[in-house]
């Protein structure tokens, strides 16, 4: 599935992934291929996405995620950079 992570300032990530997990407001959850359409709000926390060749974690400061037809779009208000 195709994942996009955008903030108002820039596009943080865009590409094919196998799985993503989100810090939902009601607890974290994971999205895999062919997930049903979903809209959820996100709390401040870590988004983890991985595919065969990559594994990355980023911390977002709340946001919204939309899952539709194997497109996952994360609207994060801000990205919190680690050790900076």
């Amino acid at each position: 599935m195709y994942l996009e992570i955008v903030t108002p300032d820039k596009k943080v990530f865009e590409g094919e992934v196998l799985s993503v997990s989100f810090p939902g407001t009601d607890g974290s959850f994971q999205v895999l291929n062919n997930h049903a359409p979903l809209v959820s709000t996100l709390a401040k926390g870590t988004v983890v996405y991985s595919s065969k060749e990559l594994y990355e974690e980023i911390i977002i400061d709340g946001g919204v995620v939309e899952v539709l037809n194997n497109r996952v779009i994360v609207l994060a208000e801000a990205i919190i950079e680690e050790d900076e």
Binding site: P8, T25, S40
Partner: protein, 292 residues
């Protein structure tokens, strides 16, 4: 006849002014490019947010998840005026300030006379303008344009949204310069709060059966402030781009004018120099003649 020395100093001062304006223009060009870029960067976010918002609010009761949309009798008004921190950009700041004064005159005369129109200037120039004229100026956010980011841009928005929710203001307007193209800025007045009812909600391809987590109401409550912040941030970005556009044009004009002035001055200089030489030759010839 003008003094040679005088003309010379004027020429060198105009030359250095021209260098400065030229450099400022170059800086404005590159900053403009960056400012335009960040508008483009923000657009996908804004569009997607809007799309989800429309989707979610489609079959929701009209009055749910609001608070930002409450229409009250307008007694206390806040006007956010977006200007720049620095000058030398033509009529850029003046246009916004004048428009604001006109807006108060037209729409909020009554509230203004009661002392209930407050101004929140963003950018130093607007702050100076309204303070000098004894308007009621509340908190100031200056120096937000340098390295403008959403993080910085959302602070004033959050401040204003809180004030609105607590009933400190019944209406909030934004006045800013919209970026049309490099040479043209248009002053816009936008209603920020309460949220103006949306006019074009009917362009979506049909409702998709989403799973909503935790539920629609919470999502809407989360998203409305976000979209407000985005709306405000957009105004700031527009104004930022417009500022650099305005400065670029102003500086280009100034460089041109300096060039013209230089041409004239150089002409005067050469004439004076030549006149002086001619005079000297005449004197020498006359002197030699007198000797023989």
């Amino acid at each position: 006849m003008p003094n040679l020395k005088e003309v010379k100093t004027r020429i060198s001062s105009v030359v250095s002014t021209q260098q400065i304006t030229k450099a400022m223009k170059m800086v404005a060009v590159s900053k403009l490019r960056r400012a335009k870029n960040s508008i483009l960067q923000m657009r996908p976010f804004a569009e997607k947010l809007n799309e989800i918002l429309i989707n979610v609010s489609k079959d929701l009761d009209a009055d749910e998840g609001k608070g930002y949309g409450t229409e009250r009798e307008i007694e206390k008004v806040l006007i956010m005026v977006i200007t720049s921190d620095r000058g030398l950009c033509g009529a850029f700041n003046n246009n916004v300030s004048k428009r604001t004064v006109a807006l108060i005159e037209e729409n909020y005369k009554y509230q203004f006379d009661a002392g209930d129109v407050h101004i929140l200037p963003l950018g130093k120039k607007g702050f100076d303008f309204f303070r000098r004229r004894k308007y009621h100026v509340i908190a100031k956010f200056t120096d937000i344009f340098r390295g403008l980011s959403f993080k910085k841009g959302r602070e004033p928005a959050e401040f204003v949204m809180n004030a609105f929710l607590q009933g400190e203001y019944d209406k909030v307007d934004i006045v800013y310069n919209e970026f049309k193209n490099v040479a043209r800025q248009v002053v816009r007045v936008e209603q920020f709060l309460p949220i103006a009812p949306d006019s074009d909600t009917e362009q979506l391809p049909g409702i998709i059966d989403y799973i909503f987590q935790p539920n629609k109401k919470v999502i809407i409550e989360e998203m409305i402030p976000k979209s407000l912040k985005i709306q405000f941030y957009k105004a700031m970005l527009e104004s930022n781009a417009a500022e650099h556009g305005a400065r670029m044009t102003a500086m280009e004009q100034a460089t041109e004018n300096a060039g013209e002035l230089l041409g004239e001055l150089r002409l005067v200089y050469n004439r004076t120099r030549q006149a002086a030489i001619t005079k000297e030759i005449l004197e020498i010839v006359a002197g030699a003649e007198a000797l023989s």
